[in-house]
Symmetry: C2
Subunit: 255 residues, 2 copies
């Protein structure tokens, strides 16, 4: 069984070797820049860990796992634009629009979304690409709530981060061939994992929940979310050791 670090290496290698549509021309440089900026690849790693725990083939799952990272990167590139967060830096480097200009960054984000779908469409089962675009639409809805100052943080988190985490689990299950009727607990884990990730992110950034509640309360929320995620894993008839390690890794980011 491969550990999270090995799965991440497999994702990185796959992303580096990925061929973008040749018609994108020089725009490819902007895509490579954003994709090779050292993200944690948490969504594709989660997807691959689910595939392995469910007895599927990790190699066969690499396009689906990478599609999740491309959707995530699409959202970051567009979020950083002046029209949204106007963030000149991303992961310690200048944002795409600072390096390539606003127009190119806008188009690069569009291309990321289209390339993500193209990866999801490498499978004959259209449900894989369907789940990917439906999660993307939920995420876009979450971003819209974010810019309009929606007060319901729980719903905002469920959409903006949660939908793609659940899809990370969902795509893993589909690639591994897990029947729909056996997916509920896995997906409940994905939902909890997404919530945990977001709470920890809020703690690290000092915003969201961390801006509204005393820090002990937010830490308590993170702990109880991690406990529920672990409990979902215990209820699964599978070797979930890598998934459990991912929960620990996310939780320990706050320690």
């Amino acid at each position: 069984m491969r550990q999270a670090e090995e799965l991440r290496d497999a994702v990185d290698a796959y992303l580096r070797s990925l061929m973008f549509a040749s018609e994108l021309g020089q725009l490819e440089k902007a895509l490579r820049y954003s994709l090779e900026s050292g993200g944690k690849r948490i969504r594709p790693v989660l997807c691959l860990a689910v595939v392995e725990a469910a007895g599927g083939d990790v190699e066969h799952a690499l396009p689906a796992a990478s599609a999740l990272e491309l959707v995530h990167t699409f959202s970051l590139v567009h979020d950083d634009l002046p029209a949204l967060d106007d963030d000149p830096e991303r992961r310690g480097r200048p944002s795409s629009h600072v390096v390539f200009g606003e127009g190119a960054a806008l188009l690069a984000g569009d291309a990321f979304l289209a390339e993500a779908v193209r990866l999801g469409l490498r499978y004959d089962d259209p449900r894989i690409a369907r789940e990917l675009v439906e999660a993307t639409l939920g995420m876009i809805g979450g971003q819209y709530r974010d810019i309009t100052g929606d007060d319901d943080l729980t719903e905002l988190h469920r959409l903006k981060t949660g939908r793609l985490f659940v899809a990370s689990v969902g795509l893993g299950l589909r690639v591994a061939g897990v029947a729909e009727r056996d997916q509920a607990r896995w997906r409940a884990f994905g939902s909890e994992f997404g919530l945990l990730f977001q709470i920890v992110d809020d703690i690290l950034d000092g915003d969201g929940l961390a801006g509204r509640l005393p820090s002990e309360d937010v830490m308590r929320l993170a702990d109880s979310s991690a406990a529920r995620a672990r409990k979902q894993l215990e209820g699964l008839d599978a070797n979930t050791s890598v998934l459990r390690a991912l929960v620990d890794a996310v939780t320990f980011r706050t320690a």
Copy 2:
């Protein structure tokens, strides 16, 4: 056999009844605004006319035809943004970003692209959604060439407008079940139709080819393109009267 006007009415009715992902929330207003702004629906009408000429079921083709219109609308909404053309008007009304703000227009464009793919994924044959996203990537590559001042107008047109016109024909052929080996002439027609549309557009806007060549020369290019498009239709063993009427309608826009 339904005439172009009836096909357009069918597309309009379908688009009006289209359910967007509920998670988009109030962003739906921005999508409806751009979608119901009275476009000519030339791409979906072309698609449906191909379906009918090839003996397919027009009703069955409505999701694919509408997906093409959504990709086109996605490109218009993003093109109008200050980051690209900075166009405050579209079809005689304020652009999406003027009405809803830049952030919402950016997200609305993203949502159009994702919804387009979702429509393409209503079919069990993944090749329909694949052709749609591949054409979209070509179009994005064309937009990138446009903002970087690429001098090769032929290649720019082939990508920025041509790819989606060929896909309009291609999706029609796929929905109608035309075998790959029988598609070449239909697709050659689609390519020629896209070129004709672009030349006429340049004439009407006074830019592109019309900004580089004397107007008689551009008119001659349009005439010879229309002649080649009609010739492709004559070579098809099908009732192509509606497709021929579409060629005439595009050509007569210059008259």
